[in-house]
Symmetry: C2
Subunit: 303 residues, 2 copies
Amino acid sequence: MPEERKTINDFKQLIHLLKERKICKRTVVVWPEESHTQEAVLKAVKEGFIKPILVCSKQTLEDYAKKNNFQTIIAESPEEAARKAVEVIRNGDADILMKGFLNTDVLLRAVLDKEVGIRPKDTVLTHITAAKLAEYPKLLFFTDAAVIPFPNETQRRAQIKYLVDFCHAFEIEYPKIALIHCSEKVDERHFPYTLSYKMIKAEAADGLFGKCIIDGPLDMITSCSLEALRIKQIESPINGQADALIFPDIEAGNLFYKTITLFCHAETAAILQGTMVPVVLPSRGDTIESKFYSLALASLVTR
Amino acid sequence: MPEERKTINDFKQLIHLLKERKICKRTVVVWPEESHTQEAVLKAVKEGFIKPILVCSKQTLEDYAKKNNFQTIIAESPEEAARKAVEVIRNGDADILMKGFLNTDVLLRAVLDKEVGIRPKDTVLTHITAAKLAEYPKLLFFTDAAVIPFPNETQRRAQIKYLVDFCHAFEIEYPKIALIHCSEKVDERHFPYTLSYKMIKAEAADGLFGKCIIDGPLDMITSCSLEALRIKQIESPINGQADALIFPDIEAGNLFYKTITLFCHAETAAILQGTMVPVVLPSRGDTIESKFYSLALASLVTR
C-alpha cells in the first residue's frame, strides 16, 4: 500500500497532516482556568485534532465549557483536578494530558505518583521540544530543556530513542541527530559525556537506534550550518543539516529554548515523554500559539 | 571636571567614542596570512583606533604590509610569529595582541608560557563577548564562551570583576549582571553553583564588586525581558534589563554565542582577559565585522 509521504517541515504542515489523516485525540485538560489555555484548546478543537475533557472549576464550566459544548469533570482545586485528570488517563479514556493554570509540581506529583500515577516503571521521563526558526529550513527537535539536569548514559540513550521516534512521526526517514558540545573534540577529562557521544555514534552505526544518522561532538554551528562546517574543514554525515539536537545538560537545553524564544521569534511546541500518554506542559510565559502547537505535536506522536 | 558621559549601546557608538577620545592602540597581529584578518585590521586603521605591527611572512609583507605602510616583523612560521608577537607585548611595545591565521593552541602556548609568556601569575584567564542583538536595546556582555569549562569560585568572581570593568568602560554606571541558570530557584543538590550565586549576590550587595547590581539565579528570559519577569511574578533588581550575563559553564556560554550568531544575526566582539594586554582571539568562522569590532572592544578596555 504505497502512500505519498512528505516530511513535515513546519507547524502549518503538521496541522495539515493531522487534518489529512483525520487525527482527533481525546485530551484531558487539567485546570484550564486562564484564557491562554482556553484559547489554545479552542483553536485545536476548531482545527479538529483534539476532543477535550476539561477538569475544571464550576466557573469555567459556566463561562467556557458549556458555550463550547465541551465535556467536563468538576474539581474544587488544582490538586484535585490533577488527580482526576490522571485517573482519566489511567482508565484509558484519553490520549493526551495537558497542563492548565497550576504549578508544574502539582501536576507532576499526580503524574509520577507510584500508586496512581501514569509513569510506567523504569521509563525515562524527558522533555522534547520542536522549534521552527526563521533562519532554518526545517523543524529542529531537541532535548532536554526542562526535566533531566545531567543525563546519565541510560537517560541519554532514551532521549535519542524518543527523538528518533519523533522524527519518524514527522516523516523524516533518516533523521540527523547531533550530539552537542562546545567543540568537535572528544575531551574525556573535562567533558566525560563527549566520550559517551563517541560510543553512541558507534552504537548508532550498529543500528541500535534504528533508522537515523548520529554524529558528535558537534557544536551548534557545525550541526546546523553547512557553510561553517566547510570553513572549519570538518567532515560530518549530518552535513550542517541536523534534524535534532541532544544537549549535554539542562542548562544548555534550557538556554537554547529560551534564547530562540526570546531573540529569534521561534515557534515552539513541547511535550513530556516517558508517561503513558504525552503530557503538554507549557510554562506561564508560553504563547497561545506555542500551547496550540504543543497539542498538535502531542496529537501526532501519541498512540 | 564634569564630562558628558553617555552609555555605549552598540558598536557604532563604540567606534564613535574611540574617535572622539582619539584612542589609537598599538596592536600586534600574529600571522595575518588570510584576507579576513587583513581586512579587519585595515578597517580599524582607517577608523584610526589601532596602529598595527604585523608579525607576518615575507609574502604578506610584500602583498599587504608595504602597500598600507604597516610596520612588520618577519617570521617563518606561525609558531615563530606567536613567540615574536608575545615578546613585543612583554617589551611594552604594544597594547593589544590579535590572532591571525593560526591555531588558537599555538598562540595560547606562547601567551601562557611561564618563562616568556604574558600571563601574570595568579590571574584568571577568561573570554568575554559583547553582543548586539536586533531584539535587545543595548549591548549584552557575557562570559565564558571559550576558555573556562566549569568556573570555580575564584574564577567566577574574576569573571564578574572583568564584566563590571567592561561595563564601566562602556559608561554603564551601575551594570546589571545576571547569574544565569535554567530556573530562578537555588538548587544546591543538582546545581551547586546556584548556591554560590546566592553568596555572590550578597557579596555584591556588600560592595565587593564595586558599582554594579547582581542578581541570580535568573534564567535567560527573566534576565532580559521585563514582560516575562512580570508574567512569572518575579522581583529582580535587574528588571529584565541585564547588561551582562554570567553563564554557569562553557557549554551554556558557547551555545549562547553560537546560537545568537547563527540564528539571530548578532554582531559580536570578543577578547581574552587575564593577560598583560587584551587578546583578540577570533575563530575561523568569524566575520570581518566581528574581528573589527573585537579590535574596537580591545582598544577601549586596554590600559
